[in-house]
């Protein structure tokens, strides 16, 4: 009896196999579309954007649960350039260790997570950076009452710094090269470093400038502290994509450049519609009134106009999220346009 059953099972198996091998495989149709990131984003109908789990001014959720911040606005601008709709973004909050695996495993399409552009990451990790949307770097915070207005006047100061970080190395280098002395207070965790500064164990707190501004808000009397203008290290932060899809990298890069060009040309969220009929050929090219610059990116010609209408130009994005009108109150500094003494510079659209 058992033998018959097994034989019967085998018979059914071979019959089914024979039958189904004839079934056409139509999976290949989808393959062509999803092999390019732009294609898969368009067919999914949303941009998957990797953001920080929470960094004041760069990515955080407001009271209504909506994501907001400088990096978040880049996700929205890219989505607007692709779909004409800045809400078609699905945000994936990523921790520092998660961010690169998530991008490499195709869990996100673009990583806008205050990631420093370094050669190592550009080469070994297989990333392509789409520009620098925030020039960060190590800075100093002091109490206003000690009357210092430049880091060059910090000779002999007591400095709180996190141990074992590049921050500590940069600090040593800076003071040595400027011929100044200092007393380091070296502490393991950044939270404890901040506490030590608040309790008055040191005169100066040093870490990345964006972190200093966020820390200042946690101090009991935030107005009594000032972040000095000197930036002593290079931490260029920018959106990153996977290597090997140049079309997609171009889109991320040119959305960034479009926001910068918009600021330079005076195009804002408010006047973007009327600017389309401007006489300035560079504005007309940027906003898609002339030429087919959107088409060559694989998008609609009003891609940049949509992005600007969604988030505004770079200056507006900066001011809304981290600028002096926000609680963070960060000065433009290096992030100003090259025409205003900063280093933000975009190639022209032509």
């Amino acid at each position: 009896m058992k033998k018959y059953l097994i034989a019967g099972l085998a018979g059914v198996a071979s019959l089914t196999m024979a039958g189904t091998s004839a079934i056409a495989q139509d999976d290949d149709k989808n393959m062509a579309a999803s092999s390019s990131t732009l294609g898969s984003v368009q067919s999914a109908g949303e941009l998957r954007c990797g953001v920080n789990t929470g960094l004041p001014g760069f990515a955080s959720q407001n009271d209504a649960g909506e994501w907001q911040g400088l990096d978040v606005d880049y996700c929205r601008a890219i989505a607007a350039a692709i779909f004409g709709d800045a809400t078609k973004v699905s945000y994936t909050p990523l921790s520092a260790v998660q961010r690169f695996p998530a991008l490499q495993n195709n869990e996100v399409d673009v990583l806008a997570r205050n990631t420093t552009w370094t050669m190592d990451r550009d080469t070994k990790l297989g990333l392509v950076f789409g520009g620098v949307n925030y020039y960060d770097g190590q800075g100093f915070m002091v109490r206003k009452e000690i009357g210092v207005s430049s880091a060059k006047e910090l000779d002999g100061a007591t400095v709180c710094v996190q141990s074992g970080t590049t921050t500590e190395l940069n600090l040593t280098d800076y003071f040595n090269s400027n011929g100044m002395s200092y007393n380091p207070v070296v502490i393991e965790s950044q939270d404890n470093v901040n506490q030590a500064y608040e309790s008055g164990r040191c005169d100066v707190l040093t870490t990345d400038a964006s972190g200093l501004y966020a820390t200042r808000l946690e101090l009991a009397d935030s107005d009594a502290h000032i972040v000095l203008p000197e930036i002593i290290s290079k931490e260029p932060l920018g959106p990153a994509v996977r290597q090997g899809d140049d079309t997609w990298a171009n889109i991320v890069q040119w959305v960034h450049f479009a926001l910068l060009n918009a600021e330079e040309l005076g195009v804002t969220q408010e006047n973007v519609e009327e600017m389309k009929s401007s006489d300035d050929p560079s504005i007309r090219r940027l906003l898609g009134a002339d030429g087919n610059f959107g088409e060559v990116l694989g998008l609609e010609n009003d891609w940049a106009a949509n992005a600007i209408a969604a988030v505004g130009n770079y200056g507006e994005v900066f001011e809304r999220n981290v600028g002096t009108s926000t609680p963070l109150g960060i000065e433009r500094g290096l992030n100003n346009l090259w025409t205003n003494g900063g280093v933000q510079y975009a190639p022209p659209v032509r």
Binding site: M1, K2, L5, I6, L9, V12, A13, T16, M17, T20, S21, A22, I23, A24, Q25, N52, T53, G54, L55, P56, G57, A59, S60, Q61, N62, D63, A64, G65, S90, Y91, T92, P93, L94, S95, V97, Q98, P101, N105, N106, E107, A214, L217, E218, L219, A220, D221, T326, P327, L328
Partner: protein, 496 residues
């Protein structure tokens, strides 16, 4: 003689008198308990003062100096030169719905609400002894509710694969074989042997099912040839058991078939499109996610733990070795490592294009991890059962599973209730570790709230953490009290 004695012996109970005035009242209690000796007095004063100071500080932080209403950080900041700032409850108020639901779409929050209400009703019905219909309630809670919750929370319309369907059916068929294989004659009779071979065939089919051999769509499910064969094998297996039972006893042959039917229905229900808007799991968060992870872990770890504990005590070396290795592996690895592995290593080991949901990975990790702990707790209970109970069950002619089901486990589980609840509570608190793999549970959403520049103040973090701690305490304390109640109720005279 009697006359003489009667003068001295009371012929009735003398009513008890109140204690002397010096031994009564609040003054005496204070004197006796707090100021009995000079050392006592000093200690009482010192610690009393400390307690009052502590209570006062907590009260002034949480109530007197606290800010209860406000729209942004400005309301929680102390005015220039003010006293030290108190709690910023306005922050908790503004973010409360996020703390509960994470980023779950606001217009769809009736779905988690409904799931929550149904869950509370079912659990209450199950946990309160007086409520009738326990069997029906159990079925609803353990079989219907998980599918209901999954469908409602995600919106269903899944792309269910044949391999997954076959996997569900394999689980069901295996359960049927374990429970009723003996009634069908076991490996000594042909139906039992056919059933066992079919199970192995089913497993092999699932392993092969990722091979691309063309697809067949049926009832919304995409089968490959191998997964279809695996499903057929599972049906064959339970069919054989049912036939065997019919031959021998001729009663209740629907019982072994039922689990497979349920598994099939579940697969079809998940593939069905209900017109609900899908909600991606990366939007889930807050207390909702904490409860989902904890309840899934708790519900999965108990049965898995029982099986592992029994396997570890098994006479069959292969099963025993597998169980020992499983338990020792999961117990020897920290949960953080398990979650990291699930989040980062698993995708690297998968063939490209195959992705597992992040939440599902975490759920499986948590369930397996806690199952290993649960197994050891239950093994403790099994060891406490005297040998006579096992032998008595055997002498009644009960099969292994029958004796476990009816004699051993009811006693063993009762003994280890404190240990089980301990594991549950530990698991509940461990769920906050999913924060490090990017899932925002209650603690995670609270911490994410700290980075909203509109709310950063010196007291925001403390307030948020106190709130999260209070919610965790509420749930753990609830579980702890219920376990005490169950212990007392099941107490059958072993208490020392």
């Amino acid at each position: 003689m009697e006359e003489q004695v009667s003068g001295y012996v009371a012929d009735q109970q003398i009513p008890s008198r109140p204690a002397p005035a010096s031994d009564r009242g609040i003054v005496h209690a204070v004197q006796k308990n707090l100021f009995a000796t000079p050392v006592d007095s000093v200690l009482s004063i010192v610690f009393g003062a400390f307690a009052i100071w502590l209570a006062w500080s907590i009260l002034s932080w949480a109530v007197f100096d606290a800010t209860f209403v406000g729209g942004d950080r400005a309301s929680c900041l102390t005015p220039e030169g003010g006293e030290s700032e108190g709690a910023c409850w306005a922050f908790v108020g503004a973010k409360f719905s996020q703390f509960m639901y994470g980023s779950y779409p606001i217009d769809l929050r009736w779905r988690p609400n409904l799931v929550g209400i149904v869950f509370v009703l079912l659990v209450a019905g199950f946990a309160i002894p007086k409520v009738p219909f326990k069997a029906l309630n159990g079925w609803l809670l353990f079989a219907v509710f998980p599918v209901f919750a999954l469908v409602l929370l995600t919106g269903a319309g899944f792309d269910v694969s044949g391999g997954f369907t076959a996997f569900l059916m394999l689980m069901a068929a295996t359960a049927a074989y374990l429970l009723y294989g003996d009634d069908a004659g076991g490996l000594a009779a042909w139906p039992g042997r056919v059933a066992a071979i079919a199970l192995i065939a089913c497993f092999a089919g699932i392993v092969m099912s990722s091979l691309d051999t063309g697809t067949i769509r049926f009832a919304g499910i995409t089968f490959t040839v191998w997964s279809l064969l695996a499903c057929l094998s599972a049906i064959l297996s339970v069919g054989a058991i049912a036939l065997g039972m019919a031959q021998r006893a001729g009663v209740q042959i629907w019982r072994p078939v039922l689990p497979v039917i349920v598994a099939t229905i579940v697969a079809v229900l998940l593939a069905e499109d209900y017109g609900l808007r899908p909600v991606s799991t990366n939007l889930w968060g807050g207390l909702m996610l904490t409860l989902i992870v904890a309840v899934t872990g708790i519900a999965a770890s108990l049965p898995l733990g029982v099986l592992l504990a029994l396997g570890r005590q098994s006479d069959m070396p292969a099963i025993r070795t597998v169980c020992v290795i499983f338990i020792e592996f999961w117990r020897g690895v920290p949960l953080i490592t398990v979650l990291f592995m699930a989040a980062f290593m698993l995708p690297l080991l998968m063939p490209s294009g195959v992705t597992f949901n992040q939440l599902l990975r975490a759920l499986v990790g948590v369930a397996l991890f806690s199952a290993a702990y649960m197994a050891e707790v239950i093994r403790g209970g099994l060891q406490a059962i005297p040998r006579g109970q096992y032998e008595g069950a055997q002498s009644l002619g009960l099969s292994y599973w029958q004796s476990m089901r009816m004699i051993i486990l009811p006693q063993a589980l009762k003994l280890v209730i404190p240990g089980i609840v301990n594991t549950f509570i530990g698991l509940f608190k461990d769920t906050s570790l999913v924060y490090i793999i990017g899932l925002a549970d209650l603690l995670g959403t609270v911490r994410r709230g700290f980075s909203d520049p509109n709310w950063i103040t010196p007291s925001t973090a403390a307030t948020g953490l106190v709130f999260a701690g209070f919610v965790f305490w509420l749930f753990c304390f609830g579980m702890s009290r219920y376990s005490l109640f169950v212990e007392r109720r099941l107490d059958t005279g072993h208490k020392r």
